[in-house]
């Protein structure tokens, strides 16, 4: 099962990362054409300084070029920036911009990047959900909290082509963060906080990427057309892309089957058995980790042996057999498909597995903790959001812990918001947690559990862990930094089992086989900016 899946993934990514030349030369593909993409989420908006969720991500892949990005192998790609300099102390980052134009023909300047940053930090912006991603810029946090001034924010346009950002402390993963919306440009003067819906109007919602907005209809979708001013316009083949909001899974699949949409994402797992790559199956290897969070202030979960026993007792393959083939067993907290910074491997492959499932050892550990054969072990509750997949996962976990450790788990399925609140309040014993990377770097997972993190929901307070994270932030040598990150993950998982990894998830997508030259980025997401349509 696992082998087959991996071969599908490899094959899919091979198809999708084929060099542009081979497919462009294909006799069947032509210039022009129009495709329709379905997108699940219509929450938020298209303002990079605002409520930028999945809807923005889909849009930005088509219409906006950030400073730099990464390809599926983790290689740096210069987008709007032509080169980047860093000062010796690692604090000053200078981005030299290439000559490029917005879709109205005006130049893309450093001020356009500063525009997004300043608007996101504006204390009167009620939508800037990613403002904190800018907090390592000097003066940013102070301005955002209403104490500092805009002038003190050290993200400045030195001239039209030069953007200079000064940090409070060195940050060796700063370029990785450039995939966050707040580092994308928005046209100065056109995109303002006074007009909250500037991004809906094609006159103010300009693109500096392959496409640009043509029309936006709330609740229905939007249309983008080729941007003639784009510096790589000769590589862009499609004339038009329609993006349609479809939230229902059955509707998604039906719309693909009737040919009304060409690209659908997030399909039910049975689709994987019904379609092959030739029919358009595409596996998006997400940077997601689903894990159990033990509440460290609740007995007996405050005992490391108990946590370890639970981690070792689970058979992750069996759990995935129950939940569906879009789930993959994982003993890693940092997402399975997270690329390493210092090798061309996945981060997880750079060391031995963090732990191995072992029923007997789990029983021994539980006995050593004072609960031989589960005797005297209290019934623990396990909370999870009430979705079908999470319920199946919960039931599998409950059954396995009963049969291996003879302990009782009471399942409490909760509505999403209730679950989120309980998790945040620490109102649980065991809870399912899930994290999807904001940007492709292990630190995005690991720094959630430093003792001062606001996302540290189960009370991890480990000096050794904090130190490993601090060390990793202090060095600019990627190999050394990588060592610290592994050390941090070891402390978090294999040494203390503060978190108990269970599975990772992939997105099942269908892409009309007549569309070729679809690439993937470092997050496994399909990209259509240079896609071509066969006749």
């Amino acid at each position: 099962m696992k082998k087959r899946l991996i071969s599908i993934i490899t094959a899919a990514s091979m198809v999708c990362t084929m060099p542009a030349g081979t497919l462009a030369a294909d006799a069947e593909s032509t210039q022009g054409g129009e495709i329709t993409i379905a997108t699940v989420s219509s929450t938020g908006g298209l303002d990079p300084a605002g409520f930028a969720l999945d809807m923005w991500t889909e849009y930005a892949k088509l219409c906006t070029d950030g400073l730099v990005s990464y390809d599926s192998e983790g290689n740096l790609i210069y987008e709007s920036a032509e080169s980047v300099d860093t000062s010796d102390d690692g604090l000053v980052w200078t981005f030299h911009l290439r000559e490029n134009q917005w879709s109205d023909g005006s130049d893309v300047t450093a001020a356009d990047f500063v525009n997004t940053i300043d608007r996101a930090l504006d204390p009167n912006n009620g939508n800037a959900i990613y403002a904190n991603m800018l907090f390592n810029i000097s003066g940013a946090e102070e301005y955002n909290s209403g104490e500092g001034t805009l002038e003190a924010v050290k993200a400045v346009a030195v001239d039209d082509q030069t953007l200079e950002i000064t940090l409070d402390a060195p940050c060796s993963y700063f370029l990785k963060m450039m995939s966050m919306p707040v580092f994308y440009p928005s046209k100065e003067g056109a995109a303002t906080n006074e007009n909250e819906v500037w991004w809906q109007d094609p006159a103010t919602s300009l693109g500096n990427g392959a496409f640009t907005l043509e029309s936006y209809t709330d609740g229905v979708g939007y249309t983008v057309v080729k941007n003639p001013y784009y510096y790589q316009a000769d590589k862009v083949s499609l004339d038009k892309i329609n993006v349609q909001f479809i939230s229902d899974q059955t509707a998604l699949l039906s719309a693909y089957q009737t040919g009304e949409v060409d690209v659908v994402t997030g399909l039910p797992d049975y689709v994987k058995d019904q379609y092959t790559e030739e029919d358009g199956l595409f596996i998006w290897t997400m940077l997601t980790s689903k894990f159990m969070l033990p509440n460290l202030s609740v007995a007996p979960l405050d005992n490391e042996q108990v946590r370890e026993a639970i981690a070792l007792a689970l058979s992750r393959q069996q759990i995935c057999d129950v939940i569906g083939s879009d789930y993959i067993p994982s003993v890693n907290y940092v997402a399975e498909y997270m690329l390493s910074n210092s090798s061309d491997q996945y981060f997880k492959d750079e060391q031995d597995p963090l732990f191995e499932e072992n029923a007997e050892k789990a029983q021994e550990l539980l006995a050593e903790a004072g609960y031989p054969n589960g005797d005297g072990f209290p019934t623990l509750t396990y909370k999870y959001p009430n979705s079908e997949k999470d319920s199946l996962m919960a039931q599998a976990i409950q059954a396995q812990l009963k049969s291996v450790l003879n302990i009782n788990i009471e399942l409490v399925g909760e509505e999403d918001e209730v679950y989120a609140q309980d998790k945040k309040d620490g109102n649980y014993e065991l809870i399912r947690h899930s994290w999807t990377a904001d940007y492709n770097d292990p630190i995005n997972f690991l720094n959630l559990y430093t003792s001062d993190s606001t996302s540290n929901y189960n009370g991890v307070a480990d000096a050794a862990f904090d130190e490993a994270i601090a060390n990793s932030n202090a060095t600019d040598d990627q190999a050394e930094r990588n060592q610290y990150l592994h050390e941090a993950q070891n402390i978090l998982v294999s040494e203390n089992f503060y978190v108990i990894p269970v599975v990772t998830q992939v997105y099942i997508c269908l892409i009309n086989p007549s569309i070729s030259n679809v690439t993937t980025n470092d997050k496994g997401e399909p990209m259509y900016r240079f896609a071509t349509l066969a006749q």
Partner: protein, 305 residues
């Protein structure tokens, strides 16, 4: 009549106020908040909450809400950036109303015809099969029907498109899914009241006077037979106009029904409130209108009671 309408409208206002109060406090009792999105930093979340005044005590928020409401301002959506709830309703209601009214008109016309046919036919086979279809129509839930229509007529036979409301063809499947239940209900109702009316003395009298069969059927009998239909039309229209989450979700129609359910799971408080008020007004008005029509059709019905 005017006095009655005024009285009913005032009562409607009182019920609306009760509705607003209960809904407001219930939404605030739900755990979570609109900005509880998985990767959002807590400090940022707190700042956004206070920007929208959501950190104030609930009764203060309620006072603010009532004050804005008195100017007809339903507030702004937290999740749809830059969109006011008024805009949202103006934009989404037309889709839902189009589908709902089409479904109602078709159900009313077809339902009346089928009901009369069932009442007057002497062929057991015809009556039996129509009756069977009616019972089927009442018992199939619309989510099953909508899926069935989509998979059979859309995906397999490819007769109709299944996404959105782009052309007239797009309307057929969702309208059908919405029509079947009210259609079956009206047929059944017309059948029973029509067969009852058929045997009334005044019908025999009319026949004896030699009035044409068609005139007797459609004027004399139908007028009486329709009164129960008009009575249930009020709630039925309200039900159709408030939209069906399932039908709108499956056929990707950007209407009120889908928005309502989404707003609850999104904790988009202002949208929940705005839609509740909108739906409340529709319900009050539809009931009032159906009562007035009843009184116009049958002068024996006294409104002032």
């Amino acid at each position: 009549m005017a006095k009655y309408i005024t009285k009913r409208l005032l009562m409607g206002l009182v019920s609306l106020f009760a509705l607003i109060t209960v809904t407001f406090f219930l939404t605030r009792l739900m755990p979570g908040n609109p900005f509880d999105i998985s990767n959002v930093n807590q400090a940022v979340q707190d700042r956004i909450m206070s920007y929208y005044g959501l950190d104030q005590p609930v009764h203060v928020q309620f006072g603010m809400y009532l004050k804005n409401l008195s100017h007809g301002d339903l507030g702004i959506s937290y999740k749809k950036v830059g969109t006011t709830v008024n805009q949202l309703i103006m934009q989404e209601a037309p889709y839902t109303i189009q589908i709902g009214m089409l479904a109602f008109i078709i159900a009313l016309i077809l339902g009346t015809i089928i009901g009369i046919a069932m009442a007057v036919t002497r062929k057991e086979g015809v009556r039996g099969s129509l009756m069977f279809l009616t019972v089927l129509g009442i018992s199939i839930p619309n989510y099953v029907l909508a899926l069935l229509l989509m998979l059979v007529c859309g995906v397999t036979l490819k007769w109709f498109p299944v996404v959105g409301l782009g052309s007239w063809k797009h309307y057929i499947l969702p309208v059908t899914a919405m029509t079947v239940y009210p259609l079956a209900q009206i047929s059944k109702l017309v059948k029973s009241s029509y067969s009852e009316a058929m045997h009334q003395d005044y019908v025999i009298m009319a026949r004896a006077k030699g009035i044409s069969k068609v005139r007797i059927s459609f004027v004399h009998i139908l007028k009486n037979a329709m009164i129960p239909v008009i009575t249930i039309s009020g709630p039925m229209v309200a039900f159709l106009l408030t939209g069906s989450f399932v039908v709108e979700n499956i056929f990707t129609i950007p209407g009120i029904g889908r928005e309502f359910v989404n707003s609850v799971s999104n904790r988009d408080y202002t949208v929940i409130m705005g839609l509740t008020i909108f739906l409340g007004i529709i319900l009050v008005l539809c009931n009032l209108i159906s009562d007035i029509i009843c009184a116009l059709v049958d002068p024996r019905i006294k409104l002032e009671k």
